[in-house]
């Protein structure tokens, strides 16, 4: 057994996190910053943070992840990292020439209390920021919240530094993308374009973290939300935030700054969340939902109806981030599956409130978020009573193997399978992809483990 020390017996744990279902703020800030065209994320702290975050994102996306670091030494930790950041800004604009540097802090620079506003202002005063270029920043102390919080803070910083209201309002809808795959964003943009809605998506990792291999490396790929798009978000007529934890803050800031009203929705994962997204976009962009999307929806319903018996009543354990777990759990319920164990290391009330509502007809469901809501605890629950399916990041493979349980990878990081940045999980097509993955996993498991005389030619 790989996780041989995990037993069903829970103790009252207060201090020790084991096998976390979360990581720290800065990696989220780095990921979000990659969704700005021509942007180099910058980690203000020790080198190790930047190296770890770049590695984590590289392993997941299998794409170049560029970011720089302030390379703190013991001296900078004592006397402050101002000189390091100033020098970094000069070096980066001279050597790597991005349009934007997006600085985020770390637990180190936060603990010593570096004032980014002051340091960055000094860089401007010293003439280290070339004409037309920009340094933006956000605070991402690793000891507050999680990677989800860091993503949210970076997205809010985009509003703070770029969004500008001019007297000329445009018939455009902002779509603030929560933490999802570039493939998921591409699908959402496709849906909007099928509806002929004019939209701006930010951050936008399409064309950044799914680039083609053609022998020419571009340090700043063609994709990403451009600065002019980001500025223009202030003139849009409405904002849709996709994912409460990762986008609500940006939506509020945009309303306060530029008077753009907003609605926060779930990331459109699954049937109902996609329904809500399309209806909201239709209403606010004042465009109809075309028949072709009815057909996409119908094909999903058809697929589920054809295979309902493989899904009905299946017990599922899942872990990850609230913005994806909420619509995903809702989708499982709409497939008549039983999501029984759900954990997220990311704290926050909305998770508990939404899960209570979604899981009201599944009394045996246990869900937990925040401190010690970790994969060890979830595994202990599984030891108490098993499940039919696991859904979560690569760390689930150890549980899947020990418990011989079918496993579908979803979330971050996925380091051991390709495809997540190709095939969307959003929209009806994405939901269909998901159902196919569930079914394939169940059916493969059945084929491999059932008695010989029970092997079915047709399933």
């Amino acid at each position: 057994m790989l996780l041989r020390h995990t037993t069903a017996l829970e103790i009252d744990r207060k201090a020790l996190t084991i096998n976390p279902a979360k990581t720290c703020q800065p990696v989220g800030a780095m990921y979000a910053a990659l969704g700005i065209h021509g942007c180099l994320p910058h980690s203000h702290g020790s080198q190790g943070c930047c190296a770890y975050h770049r590695s984590a994102l590289s392993r997941h996306f299998k794409e170049p992840i560029m970011a720089a670091t302030s390379s703190f030494s013991e001296g900078s930790s004592v006397f402050g990292g101002s000189a390091n950041l100033i020098q970094a800004i000069e070096t980066i604009f001279t050597v790597y020439k991005p349009d934007v540097i997006a600085v985020h802090t770390t637990c180190l620079s936060e603990t010593i209390g570096d004032d980014l506003n002051q340091i960055v202002s000094k860089a401007y005063e010293d003439g280290l920021v070339p004409e037309g270029k920009q340094v933006i920043y956000c605070n991402t102390p690793s000891y507050v919240g999680t990677h989800v919080t860091g993503y949210s803070n970076q997205v809010a910083a985009m509003v703070k530094f770029f969004s500008t209201a001019t007297p000329k309002k445009k018939n455009v809808i902002n779509m603030v993308a929560g933490w999802m795959e570039p493939s998921d964003m591409r699908e959402i943009k496709r849906l909007a374009s099928v509806m002929e809605a004019r939209t701006i998506m930010f951050p936008d990792m399409t064309g950044v973290l799914d680039t083609p291999l053609d022998g020419h490396y571009k340090m700043f790929p063609d994709g990403g939300a451009t600065i002019s798009d980001l500025r223009a978000t202030g003139d849009s007529k409405f904002t849709l935030g996709l994912g409460q934890y990762t986008t609500e803050d940006a939506c509020i800031k945009l309303e306060n700054k530029c008077k753009v009203k907003f609605e926060v929705l779930d990331i459109p994962i699954g049937l109902k969340a996609t329904d809500r997204f399309l209806m909201s976009l239709s209403r606010h962009a004042n465009v109809p939902i075309p028949d072709s999307l009815n057909d996409e929806r119908g094909r999903l319903i058809d697929m589920v109806a054809d295979n309902a018996k493989y899904l009905y009543g299946k017990r599922v354990a899942l872990w990850g981030d609230p913005d994806t777990l909420i619509p995903l759990t809702e989708f499982l319920v709409s497939l008549d599956m039983r999501p029984v164990y759900i954990v997220s290391g990311t704290p926050g009330k909305p998770f508990t409130e939404r899960m209570k509502e979604i899981l009201k007809d599944i009394p045996e469901a246990k869900y937990m978020c925040g401190d010690t809501a970790d994969m060890f605890r979830m595994h202990q629950w599984i030891k108490q009573k098993g499940v039919d399916l696991l859904i979560g990041n690569t760390y689930g493979k150890y549980i899947a193997r020990d418990e011989d349980t079918p496993f579908v990878r979803f979330g971050f990081p996925i380091a051991d399978r390709p495809g997540h940045n190709f095939f969307a999980k959003t929209g009806y097509v994405g939901a269909t992809n998901l159902v196919i993955q569930f079914l394939n996993t169940f059916m493969d498991h059945q084929d491999r483990t059932c008695p010989e005389e029970k092997v079915e030619w047709q399933m």
């Binding site: 103790i11 201090a15 020790s46 770890y52 020098q87 760390y395």
Partner: protein, 543 residues
């Protein structure tokens, strides 16, 4: 292979081009880390100095070197990261240290991540109480024999004393060996500081705690600086068993607490990764009288050479014969694999930028494949890893190195026993063995090749643009950058989930993998046919 490379490829052009792009101060500093090699008159290379802020570096931090590299591979220690969640998360199963418990019951904590998950209140009011509680909970759940604590950046700043906590908890939980490491990420200029801190801790808390002499063979060695990435240590274990050599401890691949505790019962230490473990090798010699030799089990020839050195050291004819027999048997498969790969790999160009030893060791394998390494460098090496240990007395101790504790090791009052007399050592040296010496990477590289320390992203791009290597070796952060340029990248930290690459078996695996890369045809399809086709212009018949 001993041609003067300079005549064919102008590697000198690189430095000029690269430095021109840097701000003046940066250029001045980087200039000292980029040198053209001359194995006969080894030039000085600047190494183990701070990376300039803003430079995109390969390097990581002290915590990564201590927890991730040196202590990570031991399976029966509960390694608790004291800090916010990130550091523990990123070092969770990401280094491919394989481990093989002897039974289904034996302890194995490697698939687990343990963290105190510090919150803002812990930063404000201190995290020592939470750390103590975490240790209690770890004990209640797992009853481990050993618990180690690793400090992350904020821990040092807020003044949490992990060593005091370790002492107190040791009293509270008798029988459990609890020890801490002050390996805050900012302490050094790279992972290297963490290796040193880990080495000190191993010596102070683990090595020498158990005098039991276990094992079936009388020739007893330690292999230091071998972390069992992809199963390398398994191969070395098997190989030593075949030769009749007792592997007392491997530090720290596939290791347990007991391996460290009994390491002082060996009679020779073999140092693989010089950078990460040379301190322990020295301490074992000073305290217990165990000499060390630099060895290398990467590459078939290098493996044979290292085994022969062991035979020669013990001077036992039976052992020497057994080693020769093993080499002869193993070389059959090695030769077959090399013959198969050579037509595909011969004369190809390689560049290696990894680690503190790998950029040296792996050149052996490329040489065996008929390939030429035209540029190499370390991510966190010191001058001695480049120029040889002879330069150690001349290395300037800067503020960053001074931050790392130097522990004073003296002869163990009862257990110090020189394994060889002065005369015996001198005689062995006269016969070609080298003790406590490492000649470094540059002596083994051709004249005119480029040696670059702490390669930056910009320099990497330039190297590839100017010299189009057939294969580039680095790590995960570089992997997809280089491949977008149409050049295959072989990861030498995690082997691209391949390996083992150590020993004879590993050499065969490596030949196959490099042959595969050389033959990988997808890179030939980067352009669509319509992009290659020359445009055909219409001609009018009446012209």
């Amino acid at each position: 292979m001993d041609k003067d490379i300079k005549k064919e490829i102008d590697l000198g052009q690189f430095k000029e081009e690269v430095l021109a792009a840097y701000p003046k101060k940066v250029a001045k500093k980087r200039a000292k880390s980029i040198v053209l090699n001359d194995p006969d008159a080894i030039p000085q290379v600047q190494a183990n100095v701070r990376t300039i802020p803003g430079i995109i570096t390969q390097r990581g931090c002290t915590y990564a070197g201590c927890k991730g590299v040196v202590l990570g591979p031991t399976r029966d220690i509960v390694n608790i990261t004291h800090g916010p969640i990130g550091c523990g998360f990123y070092s969770w199963l990401t280094r491919r240290n394989q481990t093989r418990p002897n039974s289904p019951e034996e302890e194995n904590f490697i698939p687990y991540a343990f963290s105190t998950d510090m919150q803002d209140s812990n930063i404000v009011f201190g995290g020592e109480e939470k750390l103590k509680q975490a240790i209690r909970e770890a004990y209640e759940l797992f009853h481990p024999r050993g618990i180690a604590i690793f400090s992350t950046c904020p821990v040092g700043l807020i003044g949490d004393d992990v060593h005091r906590v370790a002492r107190q908890m040791k009293e509270e939980l008798p029988g459990v060996n609890i020890f801490g490491f002050s390996c805050e990420g900012y302490r050094g200029v790279s992972q290297s500081a963490g290796h040193h801190i880990a080495n000190n801790g191993l010596f102070q808390n683990l090595i020498g705690r158990n005098d039991t002499v276990k094992g079936k063979y009388k020739f007893r060695v330690n292999v230091l600086g071998e972390y069992n990435i992809g199963g390398d240590a398994f191969v070395i274990e098997d190989l030593f068993d075949k030769c009749g050599i007792e592997l007392v401890s491997t530090m720290s691949g596939n290791s347990t607490l007991e391996k460290f505790e009994t390491a002082h019962t060996a009679d020779l230490s073999l140092v693989m990764c010089h950078r990460s473990i040379n301190y322990v090798a020295e301490m074992l010699e000073t305290a217990y009288g165990i000499p060390w030799m630099k060895s290398n089990f990467i590459g078939a020839e290098a493996t044979a050479k290292s085994l022969r050195k062991v035979g020669q050291y013990f001077g036992d004819q039976k052992l020497i014969d057994r080693i020769e027999k093993v080499i002869k048997e193993e070389m059959i498969a090695v030769k077959a694999a090399a013959d198969h790969a050579l037509p595909k790999t011969k004369d190809k160009l390689a560049m290696l930028f990894v680690g503190g030893s790998r950029a040296h060791h792996y050149q052996e394998l490329f040489t065996e494949l008929g390939m030429r390494t035209i540029s190499a460098g370390y991510e966190f090496g010191h001058r001695d890893d480049y120029e040889g240990r002879r330069v150690i007395p001349t290395i300037q101790i800067d503020a960053d190195s001074r931050n790392i504790q130097e522990i004073t090791v003296t002869k163990d009052p009862t257990r110090y026993a020189p394994r060889k007399t002065e005369e015996q050592l001198n005689k062995l040296e006269a016969e070609g063995l080298q003790f406590n010496k490492y000649e470094g990477l540059m002596k083994d590289m051709e004249k005119g090749t480029l040696v670059i320390d702490d390669l930056s992203h910009y320099e990497m791009e330039k190297l590839i643009e100017l010299y189009h290597p057939d294969i580039f070796c680095a790590g995960i952060k570089e992997k997809y950058v280089v491949q977008k340029m149409g050049i295959p990248l072989k990861q030498l930290h995690n082997y691209d989930s391949g390996g083992p690459y150590a020993g004879f078996e590993g050499a065969v695996n490596f030949y196959k993998d490099i042959e595969m890369i050389a033959c990988c045809s997808i890179f030939k399809q980067m352009k669509a046919p319509w992009e290659i086709e020359e445009s055909v212009e219409a001609e009018y018949v009446f012209n």
